[in-house]
Amino acid sequence: MIKRKNMIKRKNMIKRKTWQGGLLYISIMALALLTLLPIVLLVTNSLMSGREIVSRYSMDITVFNVLNTEYIKAGDAPFHFVEMTFLPDYITFYQYFKLFFKSPEYLRLFWNSVILCVPIVVGQCIISVPAAYAFERLQWKYKEHLFFIYIIVMLMPTQVLLVPHYLLAEMVTLPPYLAIILPGIFSPLGIFLLRQQLKGFPHECLEAAQVDGAAHGNILYHIVLPNMKPSVAVLVMITFADYWNIVDQAIVFIKNVFDEPMSIALSKVMQNDTGMFFAMACFYIVPIVVLFMACRDYISQELSFVGVKN
């Protein structure tokens, strides 16, 4: 009797488990879809023609969307709701064609962003790797205090750090791009990340190499660097994502409309030339998504490290 009750209980538990499991999958799937919704929208809407985009998303009532207007209150002017959709009326690649072959100004915006990001990423790597190694191996009384200053600077919001940069740029009259690139290269985020990775490195190994007669440079290049590859990849990824998306510094320093990076120029395109917006936004997110996909193993690994070692 007891055995049968146990069996029934276990069967019920299994049924409940699979029922719960199914619910779990469905809820996670729904959440994931919700998270990806804006991006999928971007991609599919970029295949619409410009006329369709304008007629769907604008408040003006034109001959193309007059059938989709509502009258909110009797006697009011007709009101047009945004018709967001995932399937265009007819699919056309004209927006991409116009973007790549007929609009040199948008191409230039892309290169502006690239010119802003690449020196910063490269400079960060060049500067942070030796500095993190030096922090780790240095024996100095005030090393941790210095590092604490670095951490404080790292945790400040961008706007607060912008004020000293702005004053410096005014005093020395730096060209706008340099005023963004130079402070970005020396940002302490890289040193922090790389040092976290180095903390787990066995010191005895390094000291053995040192006793064997290797100079610091050699140690750095041959032993430490290959093992720091995940950290460096994550640093590249995070810095690139940060500066590809730059907004605060660009508003303050860059005055010329043609010199703006794509992050702020996109909102201007949204108002002036709405048809091109989706194609340009897709064009804009491709580099960062490609970089993310290329380094994604390293990212999950590195984030777990950061969580543990703090």
Partner: protein, 294 residues
Amino acid sequence: MNVTIRSRNKKKYREWVLWLLLLPSLMGMLIFYLLPFFLSMYYAMIDNVVSRRFVGLQNFIDTFRNLSFQRALKNTAFFILVGVPLNLICSFIIASLLKKMTKLKGFFGLIFLIPMIIPAGAVVFVWKSIFDVNGILNWVLYSVGLPMKNWLESEWVLGIVIIIFLWKNIGIGMILFWTGLNRIPKTYYEVARVEGGSAMRQFFNITLVYIMPTGFVAALLSIINSFKIFKEVFLLFGNYPSEWVYLLQHYMNNQFLAANAQKLSASAGIISAFIVSVLFFFFRSQRKLSEHFS
């Protein structure tokens, strides 16, 4: 004796090499971050570029008395105090849900990370389409029969900004919590089950305690990222938003445009002092709580 002298020289030489490796970063830090900071403090203490009279703390007091600064402070504080805990709770829930799944974990983790890297400028249009006067939200309300509202100008704007913040930042909290949850040894749970504890007690005594350090890191990262929400807000609302969404960064941005170096430095000084004290309190409480729980 000779050997020791030589090795000591070599050691000194090696020390110098290490300092040389550190030099570029130190120089850059000094020139671009620390020295300009003192320069800005100097600017904060004078009253005018022309006369350069020393006025001490007058600029700071003026900034505190400024109504827009107070409004910005209120809005930013509300946003952080509501947004960050909400973010932590949501990412914790999703991480624990994800942990129960057996397959496709990595895939879903990746999907939740993607909003973090998508630049703000690309999705701003989507948010605008949803929450604008003629947007999707209003359309749904209209179809159902409820009254519509201009959400982007009303007092619910901060709620919308919190939604955008959640969308963007759930990924990173989720990954942190997920690895943190994975590190709690399963034996603890089994011990608790054997000892007859209900699921609720399990959660409170085991999970919450051991997730604490990860929780602190996630909270720290959330606070840092909550300042970055200014990007979306600026691209959505421009330079002069409504008073319900006027953040500290808007205040500073307006000072930039007015090129008023004194007020700028004063507000930067106040905000940095504020943040330093918050961080200090944060680290102190983390240390105390971890001592208390272990």
